[in-house]
């Protein structure tokens, strides 16, 4: 996906901005870092959701990451957010850490956004289908079975 280090091939002339106004080349690395980290965060959301459904222990473990969130626990008519708080927390952590790391690594790199686009859309479709239980449950159970887990 990495193509080149300069932006010369991607700089169409504009009627109010041109290359001479730029002090630095425009690298696409920061966009790629932001996008891939966001996708990783969403992937974490999907994975933690399915993992939490496997056993009570895994459910409690994931829930425990969200205890800091107001309303994460509780019973009665007012209810609680439950393990959803833990899934959101883990997704936020993965998103944030990955973004910082990727941005630091790729801030002066240039990548092909044309190549990233189908990857981005394909991943979103995959994640979306990964949340549709009638489709994904047999797959999850198969993978869980390989690790010795059976759905509770």
């Amino acid at each position: 996906m990495k193509t080149h280090q300069s932006n010369s091939n991607h700089a169409p002339k504009s009627d109010h901005l041109d290359d001479s106004e730029l002090k630095m080349p425009l690298y696409s690395g920061p966009i790629v870092a932001a996008t891939l980290s966001a996708l990783l965060g969403l992937f974490t959301l999907v994975v933690t959701h399915h993992v939490s459904r496997l056993t009570k222990g895994l459910d409690q473990m994931i829930h425990s990451y969200g205890y800091w969130m107001p309303g994460s626990t509780g019973t009665g008519p007012d209810g609680s957010i439950g393990n959803y708080s833990g899934k959101e927390t883990l997704a936020l952590i993965v998103w944030g850490v990955a973004w910082l790391l990727f941005h630091y690594l790729w801030r002066k790199q240039d990548f092909s956004l044309r190549a990233l686009t189908p990857l981005f859309i394909g991943t979103l479709i995959f994640l979306m289908l990964g949340l549709f239980h009638p489709i994904i449950d047999p797959v999850v159970l198969f993978i869980a079975g390989l690790f010795g887990y059976a759905a509770s």
């Binding site: 932006n7 991607h10 700089a11 169409p12 504009s14 009627d15 109010h16 901005l17 041109d18 290359d19 106004e21 730029l22 425009l26 696409s28 920061p30 966009i31 932001a34 996008t35 966001a38 965060g41 969403l42 959301l45 999907v46 959701h49 969130m69 309303g71 509780g74 019973t75 009665g76 008519p77 007012d78 209810g79 609680s80 957010i81 439950g82 959803y84 708080s85 959101e88 997704a91 998103w95 092909s112 956004l113 044309r114 990233l116 686009t117 981005f120 859309i121 979103l124 994640l127 979306m128 949340l131 549709f132 239980h133 009638p134």
Partner: protein, 192 residues
């Protein structure tokens, strides 16, 4: 005889704004009137509904701006940055208020209990899908906002970047719609 017409530019501008304001007010009433519903969770429902509708409206507006980016046409980046930041904020409010109303959804004798008893697939499939898909637009809109602020007006020099941001804005809108419609179906099925 001279038949002076109304200034077409002014008339069009007025009608576009009038139509947009009418649509916005009427749409906001869909959830705004939740405040007066006979439930002790009316505030939570109204806040979530209003933030979700606002996020959808601004997200839809952003997709119209995105077409200019896709084509590589000139656009007002300062205004686009503001609208994208507003969309991000509204998505965040939608997610936070979603957590707030979700508590009651899961509460004792709440909508989840009723749905599981009567039409379990609406919870097991639709709600389990909706609660996560509704979170997708926020990070996507954060990426778009970050990019527009990071590169400022210089993004105009890279058509590939503009196209990519436009695609992100459109995917964000798609997930906003999915979450919104699923939420509406569930609220119609069993209100809090």
């Amino acid at each position: 005889m001279d038949h002076p017409a109304i200034d077409a530019h002014q008339l069009t501008k007025f009608l576009i704004r009038f139509q947009a304001i009418c649509a916005l007010v009427l749409l906001l009433m869909v959830s705004g009137l939740d405040f007066f519903f006979p439930t002790q969770y009316a505030l939570k429902a109204a806040v979530h509904g209003i933030s979700a509708i606002s996020a959808l409206v601004v997200g839809t507006f952003i997709t119209h701006r995105a077409y200019f980016l896709l084509r590589g046409a000139r656009t007002n980046y300062k205004s686009l940055r503001k609208w994208t930041a507003a969309a991000t904020l509204l998505n965040f409010l939608g997610a936070v208020s979603g957590n707030w109303i979700y508590m009651r959804y899961r509460g004792q004798d709440g909508p989840r209990d009723w749905i599981l008893k009567n039409v379990p697939d609406f919870h097991n499939v639709l709600m389990e899908f909706k609660e996560f898909v509704s979170l997708f637009p926020f990070p996507l809109m954060v990426v778009a906002t970050f990019t527009l602020f990071y590169y400022k007006d210089h993004i105009h020099l890279r058509h590939d970047m503009k196209q990519f941001i436009a695609i992100i804005m459109m995917t964000s809108w798609f997930f906003l719609m999915l979450g919104f419609v699923s939420g509406l179906i569930l609220a119609k099925l069993r209100f809090v």
